[in-house]
Each structure stands twice: as structure tokens, then as C-alpha cells.
Symmetry: C2
DNA sequence: TTCTACGGTCAACACGCGTAGAGTGAGATG
DNA sequence: CATCTCACTCTACGCGTGTTGACCGTAGAA
């Protein structure tokens, strides 16, 4: 009947706090954006004191940098053949946004990439340019780099329309429907333009 | 030699002030986003006092609403045939962003549409859905609404990549190059999917 | 000329923010 | 047990913000 003596060691407590802060920060940065998210709100959601956030991450900027991340796993695109680029890219996008682990961090990056300098640089250099390069490597014909760039731009547009702007019916479409509709368009970018008759 | 008596009537002065404020606000909202733009900075760029901004627009939110606008002129899409949708949509996008008048207002809306509630609603309801409807009206076959939605999403993705994220070579491509590369992809969305062999 | 209306400025308020430093109490260590 | 360590909290500072109301000088009306 006695309340159990706390069996939680110190470093375990610290790890849990950090995880709680990161979870709260990711959610808020993803929902409201960087500027509208306050350290106090993050702390409140994590159930701890605002000063503890500073102690863990040093600054709001550093917390933001630690909260936003786009998984670097785009093997599925790199190993795809030109014929399967389209499907692989769509799956790559969906996998980032429809599983719990990476979801909030990816939404947070996407949400802020137009207004936050760090997020913008990450989006351009670490997400889009990498995807562009992965696609580019498998293309042939004219305008290879531009076609790969437009390819990446369309994917980003799809992600924004679906997960942030939530424009219907793009937001509620199933993965299958998206593949059915989007793949032909992406294939037109992958396929070398017919130069001859 | 006497300094010329001010020939500027009062209402003309007022109109000039308002125009100067709007110009400054559009530039700053477009460059830095809503939260990072201060009334003081707008006033400084317009060469007037911060309080005058309030007197003219009442609040920062109202100034923002008056500064961001996406021209409603999408006649070129409405009057296009399914065959010319793609070209018309690209021209529609380029015309918004490459002429002085609408440019800043459109960039301001696009820049903030992921982080500002009003801008998000405007983007979804007044820009994307209208374009989607315009395209949708000319489509046939299955998934009409979704295809039109994805069409709009790709256009927005192109705009963001080109004018905000500035990913190369999309950002520096000529209009001609964009047409050459992008049109086939959009055509694949417009063309009814081949259901039979 | 005299009075009024109004475009424009000045100084300041109240608030919320990121951040810092001292303090506290429970777990680790001997 | 005594002592130290450290995760955590409390309180507060300084600053920049949106916003306000009193004030000023001049263009227009009488």
C-alpha cells in the first residue's frame, strides 16, 4: 500500500524528459510553425518547466533543428529503375508522412520551409536536391537536370497540398488512387522527350 | 528661389501614403514572412511613422490581408481546351510571378500559406480550388476531381520550388524550358487514363 | 483672416517572449 | 550515515512587439 519508491534512475529520467520535449516540440512546430510555437507551450505540453527546455537544447533554434528532420532514407528511389521511379517516389513521400515516427518531424520541416531560414536550406539542399540527384542519375535525353528538378517540385507540391494545405480530394485520396493518378504524370518527366517524329 | 508651396492636396497625400505602406508591406511579407515582418520595419521602408500604419489599416492582420492577393484572373485556364490546359496553366503561373504588379502580393501569399491561417485559407479556397475547378470542368474519364487536384498541386509545387525555395535549375529555367519539360507531365493528368487496352 | 478637419508624429503602455541564474530535493556515491 | 551530483523548478530580467492616445502643423472652409 505504500507508494512505490521511485524506481527511475537519473539518466533514464533525463532521457524521458528529452523525448517528451522533442515530441511536444515536433507536434507544435508541425501544427503551428516556428514563430507561433513558444518554449512555454512546448514545456507545458511536455509537462515540465520551460527552463528545462533551455537546459536540454540551449536555444529555441537548436530545439527546432533537433525537431525537424526528413529521413535520409531514399534508397527506394536510388535503387529504382527509370520505369519504377514514379512509384518509388510516391511511396517515399507517403512513407514519410503516414507513419508515426518520422511524420511529425517531416511535417514540421515542410511547414516551416518557406519562412524559416534553416528549414528552407534543409529543404532545398537535403531533401529536394538529393531527390533530384537520385532521379537525375537514372534519366537520359535532354533537360535531364530540369526534368529531375520538376519531378522533385511536383512531389513537394503533392506533399504540401495533401498534408498541409489539405486540399480535397488530394488530402483524402488513398495511396492507390494517388499512384493511379500521379504516376502517369511523373512517367512523362522520366521518359526522355521524343525529339524525333 | 522660395521653396515651392506644397501642391499636394490632402487626399492625394493620403493615397500616396497608403500606396507606400502597401508596397513596403508586400515586399517585406514576401521576403521575410508575416511573423518576421514588423510594423516598424514596414513604416521605415515606407518612410513614415509606425502609428500611421495602424491609422490606415487598423491592425497588422488587416494590413496582411490587404497585402496578399492572388489575381483572380484565370480566364486563360477557363477558356482553354483540354489540349491547351497545360500551357495555359504554366502561363498563368508565370504571369503572376514575373510581372511587377501582382508579383509581390502573390509571393507574399505563397510564402505565408503554410504558417498563416488566413493565407492558408486563401490559398486553398481562392487559388487552388478555383484552379482545380477550372481544370476539372474540362476533364473526362475517371478520377476527374483528383486529377484536377493533383494538377493544381503540381503547379503550386513548381511555384514554390522556383520562386521561394529557389531550387536550381528550376529557379533559373526559362519559360520556354519550363513549358518543354512540364507540359508533358500535365498533359498526362489531363488526358483520360487509358482504361482499355 | 480665423476656425476647423485631418494627415502625420511622438512617446509610451502592456504584454509575451527567449533566456539566465539561484535555489531545491531526491538519487548516486563513499 | 554523510556528502555530493544533477535533474529540475522558481523567479525575474531585458527586449521587441502591436497598439494607443495626446499632440502638431498645415490644407481647406467660412
Amino acid at each position: 500500500m505504500t507508494s512505490v519508491q521511485s524506481p527511475v534512475p537519473r539518466d533514464e529520467r533525463r532521457r524521458r524528459s528529452e523525448a517528451a520535449i522533442l515530441d511536444a516540440a515536433r507536434e507544435l512546430f508541425a501544427e503551428a510553425g516556428f514563430e507561433r510555437t513558444t518554449i512555454r507551450a512546448v514545456a507545458a505540453r511536455a509537462g515540465i518547466d520551460p527552463a528545462l527546455v533551455m537546459q536540454h537544447f540551449g536555444s529555441k533554434e537548436a530545439l527546432f533543428a533537433a525537431s525537424t528532420r526528413w529521413s535520409k532514407d531514399h534508397q527506394s528511389i536510388l535503387t529504382a529503375t527509370p520505369d519504377s521511379f514514379a512509384a518509388a517516389a510516391i511511396d517515399d513521400l507517403l512513407s514519410h508522412f503516414e507513419q508515426g515516427e518520422h511524420r511529425e518531424a517531416a511535417v514540421a520541416l515542410l511547414r516551416n520551409c518557406l519562412t524559416h531560414p534553416t528549414a528552407l536550406a534543409a529543404m532545398r539542399d537535403e531533401v529536394m536536391c538529393e531527390r533530384k540527384a537520385a532521379v537525375e542519375a537514372g534519366l537520359s535525353g535532354d533537360d535531364v537536370e530540369l526534368r529531375a528538378g520538376v519531378f522533385a517540385a511536383c512531389m513537394v507540391g503533392l506533399g504540401m497540398a495533401r498534408y498541409l494545405i489539405k486540399m480535397e480530394p488530394v488530402a483524402s485520396a488513398t495511396a492507390e488512387e494517388l499512384h493511379r493518378v500521379m504516376e502517369p504524370a511523373l512517367r512523362a518527366l522520366v521518359r526522355p522527350p521524343a525529339t524525333g517524329g
